[in-house]
Structure formats: structure tokens, C-alpha cells
């Protein structure tokens, strides 16, 4: 069996070697994708230290479960799912320790959605891409974890409603409601940021 050229090998080759218990190929995979995994953890947790811990935990879990990886998706997709699940577990634990948030209460009553008026202009028009990214990032930070998570999973991870519902352990109806409210809230925040910028 030819020796694996680790730096130049494809992910799938590295994964197969790591599945046979070889650590160096796995180290290479960690090196290649650690930024992506960390970025996903940070986008959900909004805390550098927690994101670092969770991203490392994801790599540990990845190693432990590597034999379960069937190559049905890309390795990074699989790893990202592990990371997302760890983030959700972490957020759920943290949420249980806190009192019910206003967001959750409003969501249950459905009152906020009804009170929100439709905006008739685009808050992000004529903005540079990098500027817009920063603006969205700032707005995302102001969202509750449930709304930020549902947006991240749907808009950035391209997950369908039913997948999100499974990951977040809630109904599809809750996902739809959270997504709707998250978008409306995000639009409001972007508008207020735009007004701040103009004033």
C-alpha cells in the first residue's frame, strides 16, 4: 500500500487513513478545516472562548465517531453538523439556567409578529459587501440564540425546515415562526443601524 502524501492528499483519502486509526492524517484534516468549524461555533455562540472549546470538542468527537462517517456527505459538512449539535447542546444547557427570555414569551403568544409593521424599503441597499457583512454580523449578535441559530442553519448551512426542526428538537411550525420572527427582527435592527449610520 503506497504511503499517503498527507499534505497533498484529498480529504476523503485522509479520512480513510484516519478511520484506520492513523492520527497524522486527522491532524491534517483539523488543520485544513479548523477555521471553518471555529467560525460556525462562533457564529452560534458569539463568544470566542466558548467557540474555541466547542470547536476543539467537535474535533475530539469527530475522531471518536470517525468510523461512523460513511462518506455520504463531505467531511466538512459532517464535522460542521457535529459542531452545530454541540453548540445546540451547549446553548440549551445555558438557556435552562436562565429565566425565560422575552423573545420566547413573545414567540409563544405570537404577538410580536402581528405588531410588526411591514417595512417598505431595503435597509442594506448601496452598501459595500464587506460593510454589509459587518452590519449583518452586528445585527446577528443582537438576536436571541434561538433566532440567530435558526437563521444560521437556514441561510448559511442551507438546511431545510425539517432538518432544522430535528437539530433544534422542535416542530417545523416553531422553526417557521422563529425564522419569520428572526428575519423581521433582523430587518428592524438593520434599519436602525442604517439610521445610526446616516445620522
Amino acid at each position: 500500500m503506497p504511503k499517503l502524501d498527507i499534505p497533498n492528499a484529498e480529504d476523503a483519502e485522509l479520512v480513510r487513513a484516519a478511520q484506520n486509526g492513523q492520527m497524522p492524517p486527522y491532524e491534517e484534516l483539523v488543520h485544513r478545516h479548523r477555521d471553518k468549524i471555529y467560525a460556525r461555533a462562533f457564529s452560534m455562540l458569539r463568544n470566542e472562548e466558548e467557540a474555541l472549546d466547542i470547536s476543539q470538542e467537535a474535533w475530539v468527537k469527530g475522531w471518536q465517531r470517525l468510523k461512523q462517517f460513511q462518506h455520504n456527505s463531505s467531511f466538512t459538512t459532517w464535522m460542521t453538523r457535529i459542531c452545530i449539535n454541540l453548540c445546540l447542546d451547549f446553548l440549551r444547557k445555558r438557556q435552562r439556567q436562565q429565566t425565560d427570555s422575552l423573545d420566547q414569551m413573545e414567540e409563544e403568544t405570537g404577538g410580536v409578529e402581528r405588531r410588526m409593521e411591514v417595512e417598505d424599503y431595503n435597509p442594506t441597499e448601496k452598501m459595500e459587501r464587506s460593510e454589509l457583512r459587518k452590519e449583518i454580523d452586528a445585527a446577528m449578535e443582537k438576536l436571541s440564540y434561538e433566532h440567530r441559530t435558526v437563521l444560521v442553519l437556514h441561510e448559511f448551512e442551507r438546511m431545510e425546515y425539517k432538518e432544522i426542526a430535528k437539530s433544534m428538537q422542535c416542530s417545523i411550525g416553531t422553526v417557521m415562526s422563529r425564522l419569520f420572527y428572526a428575519r423581521r427582527r433582523l430587518a428592524k435592527i438593520l434599519i436602525s443601524l442604517k439610521k445610526e449610520r446616516q445620522s
Binding site: 483539523v30 467560525a39 462562533f42 417598505d120 442594506t124 449583518i136 419569520f180
Partner: protein, 199 residues
Amino acid sequence: MKQEDRLKIQAWLDGELAPQESARIADLIDRDLEARELANDLRAVKKALEIGENKAVLDDTREFYWSQVERQIEAEEPISDSVQPELATGTLGNVLRWLIPVGSLAAISALMLNFGAINNMPDPGDSIKGGGVSGPITTPPTEPSSGFSENPGTSMEEESPATTPEVGVFSFEGTQNGGNFASPEDPNSLPESIENPER
């Protein structure tokens, strides 16, 4: 407009509606101003998010990051290796998980008691008195007294010194020094299940 229709407008934009429902919502958006404004509003947010995330970047070096992951993997690996899959899950697994250390403890306790019984064994003369065995120490073992069968509460150990006292002493010393049994008090000789019951 009903909240249900608002959520369906969103689902329509996300491509999550069935064809028939999709046609109905498209029609609603065409003829209802509020529905149209909501659709435009949601579309604007969706479009803004399409630009992507502001990616967080790791500050740690590759070596440092990997060393932390590797350390966690090594710390957790012996545990996962020692747990046999069939023992790790199910009711049987739970029973065996406790039974193995408890059984080991019981076996060691029995051995210790056994050694203690031999150590505290009365003089052969006393044994003869207590057991009601008459005759000198040199009574051949091939002729057990009637006391054996008539007194089930009397153990073999109590009787054996009367017949072959040297055997008991020899056995005990043999196990202490050169036998297969190490001292149960020697932590180096304890089974893993005693040292770490979780294993």
C-alpha cells in the same frame, strides 16, 4: 392577513411549499398589497444574508490548537477502548457495569476472609476440642470423624488443621510469597475494575 399566511409567504420564498399551496400564495402576493410588501421585506433580508457571514478566525497556531485536541483525544481514548460495545448499552450493560467491580470486590473480600480464617485458625489441639475430633494431631485425613457430616455448620477449614495442619500453613505462605495470588492490599495488583470502577 392571518399569521398562517405570513408564515406561508416566508415558506414560499424559501421554496418549502407544496406546488398547490405555492400557487395559492403566489396568487395572494399578486392581489394583496400587504402580502406583497411582506414578501419584498422578507426577500430583502434573505438577499442581504446571501452575501454571507463575517467569518471569525482562530488566533491559535496550528501546533497549539492540535496539541489541545490531541490531548483531549488521548485523555478520552482509554475509556472508550476499555468499554466493550455490548457492555456499554442496554439493561444488561448496566447490570454488568456494576456486577464486574462488585463481583471483583466480593472475590477479593472472600479471599481476604479466607486468609484471615487461616491466620486465626486455632491450634490443632483446640480444633480437636471444638470439632469433637478425638485422637492425636496425626489422625489420618482418610478417616473423617462423624462430626463432619453431622455438623454442616462446621467448615472444612476448621477441620483441616486437625487432619493436615501443615497444609494450611503451607498454602497461606505459598500464596503470600510465591503463589498466584498477590496481596489484596497491594494497589499495583488490583484489577482495573477496582482501581477505576467506571471502567
